[in-house]
Symmetry: C2
Subunit: 429 residues, 2 copies
């Protein structure tokens, strides 16, 4: 596509992280003579917007993840390495890896995303797993399903009640989606299958420290989400911070809720990219980049996606959403394509907001496109179609569509498996 | 269906193990007033004949496993418990559980299957996992995929060669199927995706101590399987016993093969049912049962499936196959249904052999129905249709059919994910 030039011949672009940002950069970066190496510590790209459906038994893992190297099968210019980055030497232009020889780069693109943050309470993690990886999703699935299983064999009524209490901390889209599906499991899917307990007696708490659920949505849509959650038996608490989490329960303000299952959907912190580079980061650990997404003083290093803090010309920060990450990857690819072909590269990344979508349960979702706001069944269909559209590949689209169709028409979920080794019996409690 | 009688009213049947045997017993056991409790240490029934396809990236876990309690959703007489049995008190007619109160029974059915046996070399297990559970399958999948990934980043040619060497011990159907699909991965699916290694240079060894592969098949079919394996680049060795297995390789006779991936498909031993019951077992740990599958001296206890050693009237042992386990479950259900309705119960289990099937790779399988023997594409289609027929439920049948169609037409496998927590980096080597 691009004319060959002296500048690009033999140029080596290293991309760390094959999330939405990194993948979009590689897909759109094509220049003759340029070699690209993609490094990720997983062998798969993950479609995070549907990860909560793996955690809640609707989708199997293979519907939301794809081997990275298979995505670049037909790109001989792209080499994929399953490796863990331990540091970057900006002067020697070298990436150091835990399990392989160092790699030198001419251009470095970092899109390593974010992970959970427990706001300084890292001891909460063991009791309240977050949702970022496939393993997180199968861990959460195991915890939810095991809680019902343990309740079925428990003799002590207090223990049984604690096992049937689920607390989700954080009422952003992930927290709302998790609470909604646990509500559906307890009230619609599981009641017929248990003989000793009534799963409809489960208590499901969605706890948010801020003033409302779905903070980035307009008030009427947040209020709709609350009423949809309440119809699924979810108790919504806002304006109350969690002050303690342990394996026996959660403390909210001064109230103790005995609960064996606590899920964390409250906060994230960026990957260690800032530490690797030795550059300033914002409060959430994100690298503060230039308007063209490069690192100050290093036009050959870009940080994109959730690992970057990008403030636009109007002072608005770019949100941590999949479309924003994709757009940043596309922007850097365009910039580099221009640089390699000695055209003038774009200098300012501009984020184009496509809207916000979130689901609550079967037939209930909210959609905010600025002037157009939707809720209920129409928003839910829109949500479904949009997510299938953004999946990678025909197979995943067909598989997800069929799994949804199956799940929503029969009320049977396909992925209700407890699958981690000794998952159930080795756990305390 | 069955008339109510005094004998069945309030009768409690406890079934341990929801494999093919236990499931068939519960499905066919229906008598008014009889309560049934199914105990399993997993929350899912597993379709073991296709488990090797999970291990080799073709099928996702959720296509070959179903939550046990969902199978009995419409059977209010059946209670499912996720629990681990630690012992049986035959006098008190009580089953002791690790995680719940003891259960008393009137009739006990044990179908707890078999697990790997390393013939006294239990230290081999860490280096050479076997294939019995979903976790075993994802462990093996992780090992196979990680070996190729590590080879791609390895610098030392000897290390790279060891990473690209796969040894499968045991050439029964599972060993042959594993070797065949690893051959397909290395030669047909992965070559285009790696840049530093040529996956076609992988060495795949299938090692059998006995005189031939697929020992239960007639010679011409065994010979066909060998030639089909060789076409996929598999080296077949028979009449040679493995004398050592460690993380750096395998010793076969006096020869050392450096190999980082060793898979065990050589032997099984029965579950601890004989120890629970304090009754005699055969060399493979199986309980020696009466012709009606009951335990000698205990007409109220039955052992069925791979946990039982059943010798037929003609002196022939019943083989450890899924259809045999199902038939035994059906037999015990029929016996109990008769007993409950005061009809004369059947006294001798008779195994009806349906044939043997095994696949080698795409388009290659063998089928032995006594007088009719098939090999090649026809056997392969038959194998596929038979396995889809025996899956549980419409969704699984559609999902497996679509995954196969996809995999065989596009050469892309759906489930090529390395998914265990810290799977890749924490492993030695």
């Amino acid at each position: 596509m691009k004319p060959a030039t002296d500048t690009s011949e033999g140029h080596h672009v290293v991309v760390i992280g094959a999330g939405f940002a990194g993948l979009a950069a590689v897909k759109n970066l094509r220049a003759k003579g340029v070699r690209i190496t993609v490094i990720d510590q997983r062998n798969h790209h993950l479609f995070q917007p549907l990860l909560y459906q793996v955690a809640t038994t609707i989708l199997p893992t293979s519907d939301v993840a794809w081997p990275i190297r298979s995505l670049f099968k037909h790109r001989p210019d792209v080499t994929t390495l399953l490796a863990r980055v331990v540091g970057v030497d900006k002067d020697a232009r070298t990436v150091h890896l835990a399990n392989a020889e160092p790699l030198t780069y001419d251009t470095l693109i970092i899109g390593t995303g974010a992970r959970h943050s427990y706001f300084g309470n890292d001891e909460w993690e063991a009791a309240a797993p977050g949702l970022k990886s496939l393993e997180d999703a199968t861990t959460i699935r195991k915890r939810i399903l095991s809680a019902f299983e343990r309740a079925e064999v428990a003799d002590d009524p207090a223990e049984r009640a604690a096992l049937l209490t689920f607390v989700i901390v954080g009422a952003g889209p992930t927290g709302v989606e998790l609470a909604g599906i646990i509500g559906e499991l307890a009230h619609r899917i599981l009641p017929k299958e248990f003989r000793r307990i009534d799963t409809r007696q489960a208590s499901i708490h969605l706890v948010e420290a801020g003033p409302k659920v779905l903070p980035f949505f307009p008030d009427p849509l947040s209020e709709y989400a609350v009423s949809a959650l309440q119809r699924l038996g979810v108790t919504v608490t806002t304006g109350q911070a969690v002050t303690g989490i342990a394996s026996h329960g959660v403390r909210i303000g001064d109230t103790e809720i005995p609960a064996r299952t606590v899920l964390w959907a409250a906060g994230v912190t960026a990957s260690p990219a800032a530490a690797w580079l030795g550059v300033p980061s914002d409060r959430a650990g994100r690298v503060e980049v230039q308007p063209d997404l490069s690192v100050p003083g290093h036009p050959e290093i870009f940080v994109i996606g959730d690992a970057a803090s990008v403030v636009q010309a109007d002072g608005q920060p770019v949100p941590g959403l999949a479309p924003a990450a994709k757009q940043q990857g596309q922007f850097v690819a365009r910039l580099l394509n221009a640089r390699f072909s000695r055209r003038r590269p774009p200098t300012v990344f501009r984020y184009r907001h496509l809207g916000n979508l979130a689901t609550v349960g079967k037939g209930a979702a909210v959609a905010d496109f600025g002037r157009i706001r939707l809720k209920g069944v129409v928003a839910w269909w829109l949500w479904g179609v949009a997510h299938i559209y953004f999946l990678i590949g025909t197979r995943s689209r067909i598989a997800v569509a069929l799994n949804w169709l199956w799940s929503y028409t029969t009320g049977r979920n396909s992925a209700r498996l407890i699958t981690q080794r000794d998952a159930y019996f080795d756990e305390p409690g």
